[in-house]
């Protein structure tokens, strides 16, 4: 039973437009959420995070929104750039255990 789900395996967006990546979770005990980006043949790199006490966190072109009642979070990238083309993983954790549960990932392609 996957506790963190990314239901869109892939997403294609035109350069300059907004990319919206979605993530759903089932465990209401999760209190910290993260997004990672991964290029081929490299390790995942941390992008942005949000605590369950917030509903929005912004860092430059990247904004993460959290809807606790819907158990849903999303990552917005504005404007999208070709270098953003990568696999994006959503992850969640609870308490101070530091154990992350990942979604299956979404492949983002930004077309120039």
């Amino acid at each position: 039973d996957q506790q963190v789900k990314q239901n869109s395996p892939s997403l294609s967006v035109q350069e300059g437009r907004i990319s919206i990546l979605n993530c759903d979770y089932t465990n209401s005990m999760f209190d910290y959420f993260l997004w990672y980006k991964k290029y081929p043949a490299e390790g995942p790199t941390f992008l942005i995070s949000i605590s369950s006490i917030k509903d929005k966190n912004e860092d430059g072109r990247f904004t993460v929104f959290l809807n606790k009642s819907a158990k849903h979070l999303s990552l917005h990238i504005v404007p999208s750039q070709p270098g953003d083309s990568a696999v994006y993983f959503c992850a969640a954790s609870r308490g101070n255990g530091n154990k992350l549960v990942f979604g299956a990932g979404t492949i983002l392609r930004v077309k120039s």
């Binding site: 963190v4 993260l34 995942p44 941390f46 995070s49 530091n98 154990k99 992350l100």
Partner: protein, 112 residues
């Protein structure tokens, strides 16, 4: 750069042979993790460590063991490799209290 290296970066082995993967960090961080990445599953936690000689199981620990005799090294051992353990293995470290993990470059393991 969190100073994480993994060795080897690529390995091909045969079913039934033992395999040890090494993760090395240069920053003396307390928490270290081993994940495997498989299509459709994202990253799944195998084992983690919260200090020298302190380790615990993750989501997919069967068939794997770990050891941490020094702060900087975290070893993952497949006692008798099986084809189902063909995967890309990532080591990660935790640098602060809010659960951000930083990943190494990965080891691609093929078990024939």
């Amino acid at each position: 750069d969190a100073g994480i290296t993994q060795s080897p970066r690529h390995k091909v082995t045969e079913t039934g042979t033992p395999v040890t993967l090494r993760c090395h960090q240069t920053e003396n961080h307390r928490y270290m993790y081993w994940y495997r990445q498989d299509p459709g599953h994202g990253l799944r936690l195998i084992h983690y460590s919260y200090g020298v000689k302190d380790t615990d199981k993750g989501e997919v620990s069967d068939g794997y063991s770990v050891s941490r005799s020094k702060t900087e090294d975290f070893l993952l051992t497949l006692e008798s490799a099986t084809s189902s353990q063909t995967s890309v293995y990532f080591c990660a470290i935790s640098v602060n209290y809010n659960n951000e993990q930083f990943f190494g470059p990965g080891t691609r393991l093929t078990v024939l």
